[in-house]
Amino acid sequence: MVGKFLQKVYLSIIFIFLYAPIVVLVVFSFNDSKSRGRWGGFTLKWYADLLKSSEIRSALYYTILVAALAAIIATIAGTFAAIGIYNMGLFGKKVMLNINYLPVLNPDIVTGIALMLLFVSMKMQLGFITMLISHITFNIPYVILSVMPKLKQMNKHLPEAALDLGATPFYTLRKVIIPEIMPGIITGAMMAFTLSIDDFVISFFTTGSGVSNLSIVIYSMARKGIKPSINALSSIMFVSVILLLILINKRQSKGAESNIEKIR
């Protein structure tokens, strides 16, 4: 019992550690002073200001769009690639994996500038498409990194058995392999989304034509000081995500309960 209690305490400490800065962020979004150091009084003006700033709205739009699209595409492409790589011979596997990890190894700035050079030499106009391509490029390795351990864990005989029993390779893929590695796929998707949402350096060097994301907008406020409307925006995002999670959780547990009812 002590063990359980200690575990709960430990988790709580970690959670506090993770959420402390967020709480600070939210609290300061109501600060009447622009300064992070002083409390100037309670105000909602930064939230109102959000409605006026088209730069921030546009950045938010692109941030979410690129993150979601890149995550989805990278997850699909990465999963298939991982399965393919898993089935390759030793040499091919090594080559593919090692090249695959290069974007993970490299400092962001090198990947960003390298991609920019590529796009410029291909005479591509920098903008939404180039930013999306860049995000997909650095997301896929993380998807593969998440899926590979699950593939290794999977019982090799499972797909073989399915094939023996008459399933087509595609059916095997859909109904046997993918469900087995699903946790890895989801993990990969979440990581890809997380990386894209926060990315600054690579996005900065591979975008243009007025397409910006939140990180770029925030970083470029670095010389003058960050406007608390960014805090307001983050707070709204934070609350939305938490609400969404609670909703999903409630639905899932309701679904589980009704399943149990059915079984009874």
Partner: protein
């Protein structure tokens, strides 16, 4: 669950299509790309411009001159108006990256104070129109510093060990050391730079940190006694209603900085760019802009109005350091091939 996934996928694809269609549904209007520092414009001003001239504005921001330079130079960014700083402008002019402006299209140029024309980086004033200006100085906490702040020496005084903040900006910090030693902030002499390096290395243990915008919060919070920073930051602090922070420009003289509007050579909408520049220099618009951003204006009319309506601000040293000091100020110039001397000093200093 699958249904939701399909719906989301379709929705995202529609969003993506809309994003990639260039200027869809905006009609046959021209779009210009403006590239400026973050938080350096009143966004309402952009809206006003768009409405008055029916020109669409794509507004992007950058954090440093060098970031902007990389984007501009690689041909990656197609911009029509950029707002770089003095030494960067000189570099761009030297590399033929700026277009000569047709001042017939910028009649509001007459409102710019004469002392801001024909500056060292654009001696015949062919390429730029000043936007904001300021000085590099010392912000100090009046409760923690009870002696007069009038010399660079105070930043190197062991009395304030651990309470000094320097700028995380190569030219500015090295420039201060050079100035203290009596040299030019644009020095290209290896010996002088070596001396500056030694001085900064000696100072390092006394320095709490090398920051940029974090300086404001640190000072307001009373976490340091002295900080090297730009005049605009001092104005910002004042506007926060803080009266225990002062700003001083040392008697040895300092760096005078300018951010100006210019049109890159790769622009395809020169006329519209000039219209934008002209618009920003209109006294009404300039006043609105300077009130929002807080930095000192280059516009005569705007200054006059500021002096009438906000005399407390315009009399501060951070807004107007006085002619005597201005005479002893220097503007940064582009170091060209001597850049590597400074690079070396800066890296060594940080690595110590």
């Amino acid at each position: 669950m699958k249904k939701y996934v399909k719906v989301i996928a379709v929705f995202l694809m529609i969003m993506a299509l809309v994003a990639t269609l260039p200027g869809c549904g905006k009609g046959p209007t021209v779009t210009i790309n403006v590239y400026n520092w973050g938080e350096y414009i009143d966004e309402e001003v952009i809206d006003l411009f768009e409405k008055e001239y029916n020109i669409n504005v794509n507004y992007e921001t950058f954090a440093t001159n060098e970031d902007m330079y990389v984007k501009l130079v690689s041909g990656a960014g197609k911009y029509d108006v950029i707002i770089p700083s003095d030494y960067m402008i000189q570099k761009l002019i030297n590399e033929g990256m700026l277009l000569e402006l047709d001042f017939e299209n910028i009649p509001n140029f007459e409102y710019i104070d004469n002392r801001f024309k024909n500056l060292p980086y654009d001696p015949e004033n062919k390429y730029t129109v000043p936007y904001f200006w300021g000085t590099l100085g010392i912000v100090y906490n009046k409760n923690m510093v009870d002696e007069p702040v009038d010399s660079w020496d105070i930043l190197f005084d062991p009395k304030y060990a651990g309470n000094i903040i320097m700028l995380d900006s190569m030219r500015d910090t090295i420039g201060v050391a050079l100035r203290k030693l009596g040299y030019s902030i644009n020095s290209t002499s290896p010996d002088e730079l070596n001396e500056a390096m030694e001085l900064l290395m000696e100072q390092k243990p006394l320095v709490q940190a090398y920051y940029v915008d974090e300086i404001k919060d640190v000072m307001i919070n009373g976490e340091a006694a002295l900080a090297l920073t730009w005049s605009g930051d001092a104005i910002d602090i004042y506007l926060e209603g803080v009266d225990y922070i002062g700003y001083a420009v040392p008697k040895e003289g300092t760096n005078l900085w300018f951010d100006c509007m210019a049109v890159p050579a790769t622009s395809q909408h020169k006329k519209e760019a000039e219209m934008f520049i002209n618009f920003m220099t209109d006294p009404e618009i300039s006043y609105k802009n300077t009130s929002y951003v807080g930095y000192a204006t280059c516009n005569k009319e705007t200054l006059r109005r500021m002096q009438e309506e906000n005399p407390d601000i315009t009399e501060m040293a951070s807004y107007w350091p006085g002619d005597e000091i201005l005479d002893r100020c220097e503007v940064f110039n582009d170091l060209g091939e001597y850049q590597s001397l400074y690079n070396n000093v800066w890296t060594r200093l940080q690595a110590k």
